[in-house]
Symmetry: C2
Amino acid sequence: MKKLINNVESAIDESLEGFAAAHGDIVTVALGPTFVRRKTLKPGKVALISGGGSGHEPLHSGFVGYGMLDAACPGQVFTSPTPDQMLAAAQSVDGGAGVLFIVKNYSGDKMNFQMASEMLDLENAVAMVDDDVAVMNSTYTTGRRGVAGTVLVEKVVGAAAEAGYDLKACRALAERVNKGCASMGVALTSCTVPAAGRPTFDIGEDEIEVGVGIHGEPGRRREALKSADEIVADLTAAILQDLQPRSGAEALLFVNGFGATPLLEQYLVFNSAAKRLRQAGLAVTRSLVGNYTTALEMAGVSVTVCLLDDEIRRFWDAPVHTAALRWGC
Amino acid sequence: MKKLINNVESAIDESLEGFAAAHGDIVTVALGPTFVRRKTLKPGKVALISGGGSGHEPLHSGFVGYGMLDAACPGQVFTSPTPDQMLAAAQSVDGGAGVLFIVKNYSGDKMNFQMASEMLDLENAVAMVDDDVAVMNSTYTTGRRGVAGTVLVEKVVGAAAEAGYDLKACRALAERVNKGCASMGVALTSCTVPAAGRPTFDIGEDEIEVGVGIHGEPGRRREALKSADEIVADLTAAILQDLQPRSGAEALLFVNGFGATPLLEQYLVFNSAAKRLRQAGLAVTRSLVGNYTTALEMAGVSVTVCLLDDEIRRFWDAPVHTAALRWGC
């Protein structure tokens, strides 16, 4: 295993310490229980908290800041954070208007966030994200997996909370964005979890995993490598099949790199996907391209389509100031 | 070779088409001669143009926009762009206040930008960047190589041009930033140029290349993999040896991912490097962490230290609106 670390045990803490040192204007980091929080809270705002296993950076720590999350709870690599982290984060950032946990649909994450919500006597405090259309049920999941669409939910609901939406409205908006989001990914290589020390899965020199999860979970099928256009056709077909958008519908197209795939290829995939969506009658008016929901150093990408309306578009465009997404301030 | 492309010949054009589609609010892309230009030019401003081989994305196309470059000329992968691209770009963005070419120090780039400058009858139109302290002379270079420090030169001089600096002042500032910048990188794996179809260099499962170039050129030495702290100690020692900063000097610390190294590791490297610099008496007041000057899917990072003063810090902080760097607008 080749990684730039000192030892497996301390890698996440050292990385978070570096994150805090690099972005001291935006966040502070607590270690034990571990969470990342916004440096300056806004009193009276619904507090948004997310979290999940590490190894998906910048998700979620990179999205803590003005206009997105108030706190993020990083677990060990590809491992759910624990309820005590969520408890500590919630107590630290709750400004009196309630707490909403934005949770990717994995059994461990869901259970722990629900447990934290019960310990805090919170009601309706969990919004689930399950945008991955590849498979129903998977290695770590009952139902569909939550993947890159989570970034969009966090951005849109973050802006709504900043604009004064109450807890119920934030949660309803999260559910609406999630419902209008569909994603599917493809892997060209595996990734290596530091504590395991060897690749998560085996894949041949000419093979791809279509529908892969962000922990390297199996997708729909193992195939021979084919052209980007052919791969994108499969991904967008599955996404459109799920969303069933009306002709002329407006959409954000998000091409997400899993880790080792260069931007050169990601933009080529964007080009191919944008053409497919236009052919299907969609108007692509917003875009995001880059490594936002990664699987360590896995090569591959996911494509996410998120249907837009006036409300969602306005909150997507609203100012944001985090380590990984920043505009308008 | 596993890449998300359709064919080697059209990959760059298709990627640029995707880049234009994703960032149509910031740039337009001309194909043949190929260049990326700012959508809205500012009359009377010095025009800043950069360029170089593709495969280093987001460098340079991702830095075209308000507060940075007016145009970028992408060559084939790891291959200099041609004078006709530079000529077309200059003619397209010259607003009457002159053109400054910001050029990484590689023999082909230097020759072609100088040729374009002569064809355009420009004087003092080339600012060279040679921030890599690893080696003197290299596969494609006489003197030192230009690497990730180029991003900082483009940002700082871009803001100065936006603020009304004339050509001479922009060029002098570029030289001053370059002089106060020192970088050194390390590779854990090779990368594969699409047209070559096989890895640029061989490297063992337990080996690293210390001082590697951004095209996989040899560095100072091949070593056994060691801890991040030990690697960072080598990189920062070489950088400080070169810069010889006074005690208490203010600096920007930039950890740049080469492609396949996760943010988790990049922030861990930042943490280690920031501690080293503080021990050496530097005040790290600004930071940048991420994949900004890549070598396709090479695993590894470079560390750049850039000395700051009031002028350079002010221009670093100034608003920027490009695909890859954005704040304040």
